[in-house]
């Protein structure tokens, strides 16, 4: 019976190809537009590390000026000072912890064929790798002793390993950064979090680093941050003055494996700040925070207002497309009144007619949905072209494909339901009389 209805449906659609095309095109355009914006929106805000995002916390301490908050109404800074980074690392009260900052160094390859280039890196502690879980292809992270000794060691990205060593196991080899030689202890596999959540201050959609070196080493080499540095008062002259200042330039992350651990850590932070207050620092009221990954992404406004407006407008557009299709389907079914009356008179039940027309509406909806998926894919390519930064979030992921298919079927059924119901209300007698 279903295939018969399908045949009837196709026959009816073929009778008026232009109108059919119009209805399918309408649904496809609506689905394409709304799914494009929804995909970007969804991937921008989606959890980049779902299996442990509630255990990873950014540390925020309010060391800002007594006179005004870091950001209104009363937001603490999004980074910490060197003094705090050092103290919290030494205390080691969290399950895992790492201070980190962005560095840009010239990389001088031994291979004369590769010209020196400036290269993005991160100075951090060994726990970085355990917390954010980048996959290792060769070797391991450095260890605690190497953190303490300011060792000249590094973990490099798979892209850098490809570039310098043709992708082979390069552990034990040397890489020269800003005239200093580092021994490679680990090589990462491909790793590019969609949102670079561990350093939102310096760009949520930036590339991941080409190398990682111990934080202590970068400090010993007096490396100033290449990322954001914010001060509410001038620091004292020189490198030591800078380290002792209230300038914030370090991202600090901790892993806390339970709510109890989180409470303990918060108590520890409050206690630390209260001790500092006695020394004349931290003039603002206690305002320490431990947002987890998702709270952090939300607080830092990773999903832009524009992306949200685009989702709102594109769904309004989808509604217009649906209303349009409902109107056209309705007109079409009404025009078939006499045919429907005849079939009713010949013994078709309302249920059968309902199924028949729903199948016809379904064909339109599903074709529209499939074309809509293709349009979504094209739309996402266009978004990548328009926003260079969104390369990692403007892509079709399987949740979105399923959503698109679900949305188009729902849309089609919604669009088809009312006209179908109306068509079934037709009384056979009236229609036959006008014949």
């Amino acid at each position: 019976m279903f295939t018969y209805y399908l045949q009837l449906g196709f026959h009816s659609l073929k009778r008026n190809p232009l109108l059919t095309a119009l209805m399918i095109f309408g649904i496809a355009l609506g689905i394409g537009t709304s799914m494009t914006s929804l995909s970007v929106f969804y991937l921008m805000g989606s959890d980049p590390i779902p299996w442990k995002s509630d255990k990873l916390h950014a540390v925020q301490l309010d060391n800002w000026s007594k006179e005004e908050p870091y950001r209104t109404p009363n937001e603490p800074p999004d980074q910490v000072t060197y003094l705090e980074a050092k103290a919290l690392m030494e205390a080691g009260k969290a399950d895992l912890q790492a201070a980190m900052y962005k560095v840009v160094w010239p990389l001088q390859p031994d291979n004369a064929e590769i010209k020196p280039f400036s290269s993005l890196g991160r100075a951090t502690f060994k726990d970085f790798f355990a917390m954010f879980e980048p996959p290792f292809k060769y070797g391991n992270p450095w260890d605690a002793a190497q953190d303490n000794e300011h060792a000249r060691v590094t973990v490099v990205s798979s892209a850098l390993n490809e570039k310098l060593f043709g992708g082979q196991d390069s552990t034990g080899k040397k890489v020269r950064l800003n005239e200093i030689e580092y021994t490679i202890v680990g090589v990462l596999d491909k790793w590019q979090p969609r949102v670079k959540y561990y350093d939102l201050t310096n760009g949520a959609f930036n590339d991941s680093e080409e190398y990682y070196v111990p934080f202590t080493t970068a400090i010993e080499l007096q490396t100033r941050p290449s990322g954001n540095n914010s001060c509410w008062e001038s620091s004292k002259p020189g490198w030591d003055g800078y380290l002792a200042s209230d300038c914030v330039w370090i991202q600090f992350w901790v892993q806390l494996n339970s709510q109890a651990r989180e409470d303990e850590y918060m108590a520890f932070l409050n206690n630390y700040v209260n001790e500092q207050k006695k020394l004349g620092r931290f003039a603002r009221p206690l305002n320490n925070r431990l947002p987890d990954v998702n709270e952090w992404i939300e607080a830092q406004g990773v999903v832009s207002g524009d992306a949200q407006i685009q989702v709102g407008l594109s769904f309004a557009f989808l509604i217009v497309c649906l209303v349009n299709t409902i109107g056209l389907l309705l007109a079409k079914f009404m025009r078939k009144s006499s045919e429907i009356g005849l079939r009713r008179a010949l013994g078709a039940t309302r249920g059968q007619l309902f199924t028949q027309h729903l199948v016809e509406a379904g064909v339109i909806g599903i074709s529209g949905g499939l074309i809509g998926l293709v349009l979504t894919w094209l739309g996402l390519m266009a978004v990548r072209g328009l926003y260079a930064d969104l390369y990692n979030v403007a892509r079709l992921d399987w949740v979105m494909v399923l959503t698109a298919i679900g949305l188009s079927i729902t849309a089609a059924v919604l669009a088809g339901l009312f006209p179908t119901w109306k068509a079934c209300q037709i009384t056979p007698a009236v229609q036959l009389k006008t014949q």
């Binding site: 119009l22 832009s304 524009d306 349009n324």
Partner: protein, 409 residues
């Protein structure tokens, strides 16, 4: 044209009326608000940065290791760049407008002031800075060569003179000339004397201190210092008109060749920096224009489709009316008026939806109230669109011969 018979005919197909009306209403709401956003973004992007963007480019130098002498490297590079054929002017600078990276500082008027009066972007340049940026001096003078110093790493003091933009001058010293006045970049340090005012210079960040008004994006100060960040130095070069690309290549080649213990960082034209700076706004503009066009197309095609159906459905009635003496033009007018009525009803609902959407945007995204002109323009445009869309089917209706009435189906 009698409106009542059309209305009573419409009332018999309420569903179709509601559907088309709803479609028109939503279209009006989306188109008006989207167009408003587009026009605001275009306005934002068309602002003059205050500098010569057509002939300028930046180029950077990143030296190797602790032994690298950045101070002499900057001096040598400046001498080389200034002697390069085709170069009109060159100066070291820490940043340029729209590049989205730079240095900002609170500016105070008194040393004991607790919160600063304004935030200003800092441009560290030498005596050729004004000429290289192509900025216009409004009052006073720019720096002289003997005022220029090198900012040692970790030095946090400020030199005794500065040149500020007119926007910043108006904020700090409203109603009076800023030249000769004093201000504090660091209110624990010595004051700076304003020696000149430039007409206009945008800060590096789009949307900088937006809560202080649109002028805050033009609060900039020039500092008479050469500055380096570690081993990194940046230069701005202004070529003679039309020679930018050629000069840029020559500068890169020459810099690479003169000093081997560094990397010459990718030269970038100000045109490219502007395009990248406004990327988000440009993308939003393009996306919204795409949505507007698609929406109008869908709505127009929908009207054509519906009207065609009505015409076909009513062929017999049209024939009867023609047989009873109605002229072609009265049939045409019937359908045009019908569309006019439906569209008007839709637009009435559309006004509510338009301001509803505008309210949502204002509440959540710092949008502004939609000016009435957009609503008026949108309504007229949609009325015209409806009339244009229905014209084809209506013409077809008017061509139905009276003889149709006599035929049985």
């Amino acid at each position: 044209m009698e409106i009542r018979p059309i209305l009573s005919a419409l009332m018999r197909s309420k569903v179709a009326l509601v559907l088309i009306g709803l479609q028109i209403a939503l279209t009006l709401a989306i188109v008006c608000n989207a167009l408003f956003i587009v026009s605001q973004r275009l306005q934002l992007m068309s602002r003059d940065s205050g500098m010569n963007e057509a002939d300028t480019f930046t180029i950077g130098s990143l030296g190797f290791g602790a032994g690298f002498n950045i101070k002499t490297s900057i001096e040598e590079d400046m001498a080389m760049l200034r002697s390069l054929p085709g170069v009109a002017a060159a100066a070291p600078t820490n940043t340029v407008p729209l590049s989205n990276g730079g240095w900002s500082t609170g500016v105070s008027l008194k040393p004991e002031q607790k919160t600063s009066t304004a935030s200003s972007a800092m441009y560290f340049v030498d005596e050729q800075g004004l000429d290289t940026f192509g900025a216009k001096l409004a009052e006073g003078r720019f720096f002289t060569a003997d005022e220029i110093t090198f900012r040692e790493p970790g030095d946090n003091s400020w030199p005794p003179v500065t040149v500020i933009t007119r926007a910043l001058a108006n904020k700090l010293f409203p109603g009076e000339s800023a030249v000769g006045k004093q201000l504090y970049f660091d209110n624990e340090g010595a004051p700076q004397t304003v020696v000149g005012v430039v007409e206009r210079m945008q800060v590096p960040w789009i949307g900088f201190a937006s809560d202080e008004g649109p002028d805050a994006e033009f609060y900039s100060s020039f500092v008479p210092q050469r500055v380096a960040f570690g081993n990194f130095g940046r230069y701005l070069v202004r070529a003679e008109p039309g020679r930018r690309d050629e000069v840029m290549k020559a500068a890169e080649a020459k810099m690479t060749q003169t000093n081997q213990s560094r990397i010459v960082r990718e030269p970038r034209t100000l045109e490219r920096i502007r395009a990248e700076g406004y990327q988000e706004h440009r993308a939003m503009t393009i996306i919204l224009i795409g949505v507007i066009v698609a929406l109008l197309a869908v709505t127009a095609l929908g009207i054509v489709g519906m009207a065609s159906f009505w015409v076909t459905q009513r062929t017999k009635q049209i024939g009867t009316r023609r047989a009873l003496g109605a002229t072609r033009s009265s049939i045409l007018r019937y359908f045009m008026t019908e569309n006019f009525l439906i569209t008007s009803l839709g637009l009435a609902l559309g006004i509510v939806l338009t301001y509803g959407l505008n309210y949502w945007l204002m509440a959540n995204y710092e949008a502004q109230r939609l000016p009435l002109i957009y609503l008026g323009g949108g309504m007229i445009a949609l009325l015209l669109l409806g009339q244009a869309a229905v014209f084809g089917p209506a013409t077809r209706a008017s061509r139905v011969p009276p003889a149709v009435a006599t035929r049985s189906v």
